[in-house]
Symmetry: C2
Subunit: 227 residues, 2 copies
């Protein structure tokens, strides 16, 4: 399997974490979607990462399509990251939507674009200096999302229910990107911090803690489970 | 089952079409998400439609969570709207992402907000007259999406492959909303028009052709399969 991804894209990071946790081997291929490389557009006409290429020929597109394909035929029941009952799975899928759509549009996407991508883009593709009004709005949104994570983790063993699931990895994927920039107000929500400390100590998380943005150091606690 | 929906929200309309096609009975409940009704926020803290309430107690949130729940335990193999093989299902799930995320953000959401919702909102929630620059961009995007529908339907029996699937209903849900406003340039893409004529003649589509926007008539061909 080959994973076409982009560093600090939370959707790509989510799939990496899932493949790591399942113990599946894969090759990681850096893709810059804004270059609109023709071979990549043949894999995904939407021109977006992540894409998981199976057997060099079949591209799985969107995190949703990727995880359902893995669940349907690639992994064993022990490796599954869904709860065993239908209502539990429905709750995990709701949270996948919460993070990959709501959190993504309200926090991750504006934040990453302003902080990490804009500096490397030409002006005609929206390059330039960060827009402070957009960053302020994204920072306000992080606060309420972090409270929601704290609320969930104070009522359940894990974010999606009683077992570790995709809900934890999707939340950790988005949160870890913001945490690189030191933008998660951990001290305000101790329950969320306790949940993330447990996630950070998982081996599946190790490789993402080595990602770096050129010219921008990680927050000092970025990879440290005791933060 | 109770479906909390909003007229002309394409995500809600997608779920209605699916339930109609499966022949499942449900009660339709009008919800205005911007009112942030407390009972509705208890069902879905994201405050978004559609929500499918099962047995008066268990809310299914996001179209993704709804259809996977139906597939896992509610409908028979004959009623399933997925192809029978894993790769076929992956392709349909890719197209669900294409329409419910890409098409939604590039076309449906800006269009519906500017044309139908803005007139009924107070200024502090973004109400007012349509922004012509946003409408121009959405209109340009309709063109390339319609070509993609034509491209798919010229190579396959249905949009997602050889069987009628969620891919057809999700595309029809979004397209039918734009078609109400007369905003689909059908004459430019005959293959897309042929596909939509087949969809329009399905009984599952009938109820949505009765939806009306107050003070705005439907395009003359809106519900007519011979358009």
């Amino acid at each position: 399997m080959q994973l076409f991804h982009m560093n600090f894209d939370p959707l790509s990071r989510f799939v990496r974490l899932v493949l790591n946790e399942m113990g599946l081997a894969y090759e990681l291929i850096d893709e810059k979607p804004h270059l609109r490389r023709e071979d990549f557009l043949n894999l995904n006409p939407a021109g977006e990462v992540p894409v998981l290429l199976i057997d060099n020929i079949f591209p799985l597109v969107t995190p949703y399509s990727i995880i359902e394909y893995l669940e349907e035929g690639v992994v064993s029941a022990q490796q599954s990251l869904y709860p065993p009952n239908a209502m539990g799975r429905a709750e995990v899928r709701r949270l996948l939507g919460w993070f990959n759509q709501k959190f993504y549009h309200e926090v991750s996407q504006p934040f990453i674009f302003e902080m990490a991508q804009k500096r490397f883009l030409p002006p005609e593709l929206g390059g330039g200096t960060p827009d402070m009004a957009i960053l302020r709005a994204a920072r306000a949104n992080i606060g309420y999302h972090l409270e929601y994570i704290g609320w969930l983790s104070s009522r359940r063993a894990w974010l999606g229910g009683e077992v570790l699931s995709y809900a934890d990895f999707v939340a950790a994927a988005h949160i870890s990107v913001l945490d690189y920039f030191g933008e998660v107000p951990w001290e305000n929500v101790p329950q969320a911090k306790l949940w993330y400390a447990r996630m950070k100590s998982r081996p599946a998380m190790r490789s993402i803690f080595q990602d770096r943005v050129v010219g921008m150091a990680a927050a000092s606690h970025y990879g440290d489970p005791d933060f």
